[in-house]
Symmetry: none
Subunit: 414 residues, 2 copies
Amino acid sequence: MNPSFETFSQGEEIITGQVVDTNAAWLSQQAVALGFTVTRHTAVGDKLEDLIQLLLDIANRADCCICTGGLGPTSDDLTAEAVAKAFNLPLVFDEIAFSQIEQFFGNRNRAMPECNRKQAMLPQGAIRLDNRTGTAPGFALHLGRCWFAFVPGVPPEMRTMFLDHIQAMLSNQFTLQPSRLITIKTIGMGESDLQERINRIAIPAKVQLGFRAEIGEVQTKLLFPNDYPQAQQESLTNEIAHAIGDAVYAIEGLKRQSHDQQTVDLISVIDQLMITQGHTLAVVETISQGLLAAKLVGVSWLLSANYEQSLEKLTQRLEISNNLDDMMAAAKAIADAVQKSTDADMVLIQLASAGYYSNPHNIDSITVTNALFVKGKAYYTVRILTGDIKRKQQQAALSALDLLRRYLQGKDLI
Amino acid sequence: MNPSFETFSQGEEIITGQVVDTNAAWLSQQAVALGFTVTRHTAVGDKLEDLIQLLLDIANRADCCICTGGLGPTSDDLTAEAVAKAFNLPLVFDEIAFSQIEQFFGNRNRAMPECNRKQAMLPQGAIRLDNRTGTAPGFALHLGRCWFAFVPGVPPEMRTMFLDHIQAMLSNQFTLQPSRLITIKTIGMGESDLQERINRIAIPAKVQLGFRAEIGEVQTKLLFPNDYPQAQQESLTNEIAHAIGDAVYAIEGLKRQSHDQQTVDLISVIDQLMITQGHTLAVVETISQGLLAAKLVGVSWLLSANYEQSLEKLTQRLEISNNLDDMMAAAKAIADAVQKSTDADMVLIQLASAGYYSNPHNIDSITVTNALFVKGKAYYTVRILTGDIKRKQQQAALSALDLLRRYLQGKDLI
């Protein structure tokens, strides 16, 4: 039997619904992958007696619990105090934690406010969990039946600390039989289309099939039990990926790896291919309005990005004859000029259907044409965008990235 | 004292983290607005004994609970059975519920599968809650101390049923005194700095003070009880906002409004001021790499946005003499050229400290100078950015927006 796992989220902003608790879901996914059975999520506010009672309950019923939130410097951050009261442990000043907090402020040329001193007080016997992205250190300790870890509620800090420290500690503390999760990542295909293609394949009852949809991207998840033969895992995964086709941009977890599986996203796939193939890129955005460039932050090969409210303005600025009747001809002319001024060997131009420029807030569907110019040749895709302006912006940025990905992977441009 | 309120979410997809539970947050917001105090969220999976125990616990400790999920037709939908077992109530066939389910399938020209018959079995004494968008009817009943409502977990069905039925039932069942939430929104000031400034002010114990931090933005929340005089709500809010100073960009909820209060974010504040003051803008981004333009999607006054990997390239392209030793002189020259080519009356240039260009992935802190040129005059702020490259990108975009906001609101540029 798998050890049981709970999450415990603390904070008025969670309990009053101002913030959706995404930590519980993220931690549960990690716990399932490691081989725990998740039994419960609980969230409570900033009331000390509620925190104490819940800690006592969980210490009595669960094998492992990760608690998020309540480690900040302010008066409504009560987690350490609740642990101390619930289990009769004094709070002890941790010098290393304190010097880390001081350093956090020092690095920003600021004096540490007095209230942050409180964050260095940890329950006696706890193991300090260093936080390299924020001020609040976490801590871990056994209480009753349960091994507890306490981390901040800010999602990026929480995730970093889980991956830095907690993941390895869990593997050491518990005897786990991890199931294996393989994720097939696709872009540009809807969930029901995907499901229709997969329906043709017989999937054994022991394998859990799930879907997770985001804007533009759908992840197909296959959870294999620990004793499922590896060769059969791989052949089933490949069969499904083949049925889905060129929309698949990556498969995660197919190769059995070390514990911290690297997640592969669309940008990292493109980044690797651009570097391997030695390309540089300049982009001209319309509907995505900067979001395409923004998603590529940190890559070495994006030389230039441009957005102009009107394409006329852009052609004028680039001193191209104004030939917008023929959009692709205009795109080619823009690309040539951009290529010359930036020295990028690839230029990606995004063109919206004419109606977009006159009323970008219109919620009807519009057409985006992404055109990629490489060594004098043009490659393009046409996509329909729907929804409000922010959704269209996201879809436009992703459709441009997908064109780039399909070109680099040698996939069909459809 | 407000009646207490809990949410209870049922389902393996929630507990294993495949789905983020947004229902708990949505229901809690509704409950707070009505005058409940939300005390706890709990989620469990599809184990009958867990469901029964949790129902008994909640019946014993809460005044009101809304349960989502577990009302479907399949064998893992156990909510009605759990209620029956926990409180010794037989399940009774509800003819009206059954005819509604039959009609749901009839409207889609499909025969009702036999398993859906189960959805018409409700605990004895329960009030049926009609579901006009799905097959599963909900139900409501008093169990122990607590008034329970059970609804499907599919968010649109759940929301429709809450607004159709439950909202009015809660107002009838309970004596509610809605409290009033005022939110002071600030940008560019950390949570601990904010708290130090607020600490000087005596805040009555009846007023709940809370903070919510996102990257670059902190919200200070004041929750006033129903009987707190309005004039005193306003004077306390203004006193706090004054102590915080020019970092305040908006106050939400200060004017008593109709039920659905409009939220004000940084972009909407800037948008309104840009339109009222009749400005247009062109931006040149470095560290924010398109994110500044992307955040401004849909505004009418952003004419152009530009990102170049190297500032040398930009000056070269704009045919400006390469005078990067003096960053502000270079910025002025770039701004003049951009102003000429775009016709925007405002140009915002973002300059990173030199180290950034050689190694943008360096996680040390860097300095960003945002310079705004309006009618030949320069306005600028200098900010320290920290963290990984994505965090710096966010901070850089927000710091540029904050400069624009401070200029438009006539605040100090510090």
